[in-house]
Symmetry: D2
Subunit: 149 residues, 4 copies
């Protein structure tokens, strides 16, 4: 059952790439029966933080969707380092690290305030999808916006 | 922000390790605004499939929780290969690949029936947590059950 | 802050109206920190059961969406009578009770198998939404299909 | 299949009862395939707003759970009046209206800022559950805290 994909290291590395913060507070319905935030919820948070990142560089989600672009997750790697508990304040830092032809790689860290302990750390690969539902070249205006930060 | 953990390759490799199947059908509320299953939902499916796996070897979730054991996800890697859409039948195969002192690694594949195309593929590391909320040695009876399959 | 809407009792009462069953098993991620199914999850189940109902009378969700129709929930009433717990088998019965110009009312019951105890009971009002995102007359073919059952 | 429960109108009506606000912004993963917030998500919001209300009068969730108390939803009524869309700011007002022996009724309104349009309005009945998982008399300290506001 082994078919680990090679995520290309080609493409343009953003130097240093914009770093965008977004914060959330752990909510009651995000807990599972172990009394901590369920590991799938961190993916929700990271997703929202990515949309906040695009918005921060000038592309609010409505603008992205309005052009018929989709942004699909094709790979996630998450290390969970510390439980998150009800009422805790979480700060998520997102950095776009590399932009390839139709995909980009991001590094995201969820920190527990105030101690700045790492709750979870993710590497995510996104593919840009055109109106015909196939991968498309990431638009130049997106590339430029990410470089400007 | 880089601190990729090394997941130990030590421990006992299960040969071949039990392979357990669980099926689900894509539901309306699992779709996001792109009209496909949101990538966090696959983690829900894989979680349920792991519980089904423990149940299949004799440890239903209620029995695990009843002893005060927790099973925490400390790492996931997921490759998303094909969108999953409303009403599609998904079959998830779970194999426990390696058992270490307090952690185990699993390989999970979500297939779209009937073509058997891979929807998503995951590698997951779990840590066994004792009643005092610290990692504990994975109980011998769990190890034995997994070997028997 | 009081503005209770009057849901019209006008319209055509379906006699007796089709009764459609759909079953699910309680999954790990549906539990909250009280160790039982979170009350919002029942709404997910009822939603899926409604789509199964439309499918049972000839309108799979893809067909509904493909015509640009939306089906929006404008009112729910749910009485929760019994906790649902991990691994329990739940059977949901859905009956369309009344069809008005652009809305319809349904009665849904979630039962715990095998004892047939009521887990939750819902009354739901849906509005049919046209491609211009305004309420539209419920199409004649839907009315006919619901009468035929 | 009809068994509409009568929610008792007995008990002490709080005059006027504390009004607590909590705000949230619509997130990407809260949308469904109709591109608006799924109706089950409003229940998540209202739940979180109730916990914020208990916290505002001196009972943070951890304190409630730490005493072995559970707070179960036994009835919800929600009227959905306006779609909520990505990025919109939502303000939720919660008022405890009536306290009975072991249950209480709340009125909750979700407003779209800045126009203060009503997105959804809920009436919720909660039952206080003791450590033996049976309904218990709502503790005097909770009653007093709610009266003080």
């Amino acid at each position: 059952m082994d078919s680990r994909p090679a995520v290309s290291q080609e493409g343009e590395e953003l130097q240093p790439g914009p770093l965008v913060e977004w914060g959330t507070t752990v909510r009651s319905y995000e807990l599972d029966s172990f009394g901590h935030v369920n590991h799938a919820v961190h993916l929700n948070w990271f997703e929202q933080a990515r949309f906040e990142t695009f918005e921060a560089v000038g592309f609010p989600p409505a603008a992205l969707l309005g052009r018929g672009w989709g942004i699909h997750v094709v790979r996630v790697e998450v290390d969970y380092r510390r439980e998150a508990r009800l009422g805790e304040r979480i700060r998520i830092l997102t950095r776009v690290e590399r932009v390839r032809n139709s995909s980009m790689s991001l590094h995201q860290v969820a920190l527990h305030e105030p101690g700045e302990e790492v709750v979870a750390e993710a590497r995510v690969v996104l593919v840009w999808i055109g109106p015909n539902r196939s991968p498309m070249k990431i638009p130049e205006e997106i590339r430029e916006a990410l470089k400007r930060g």
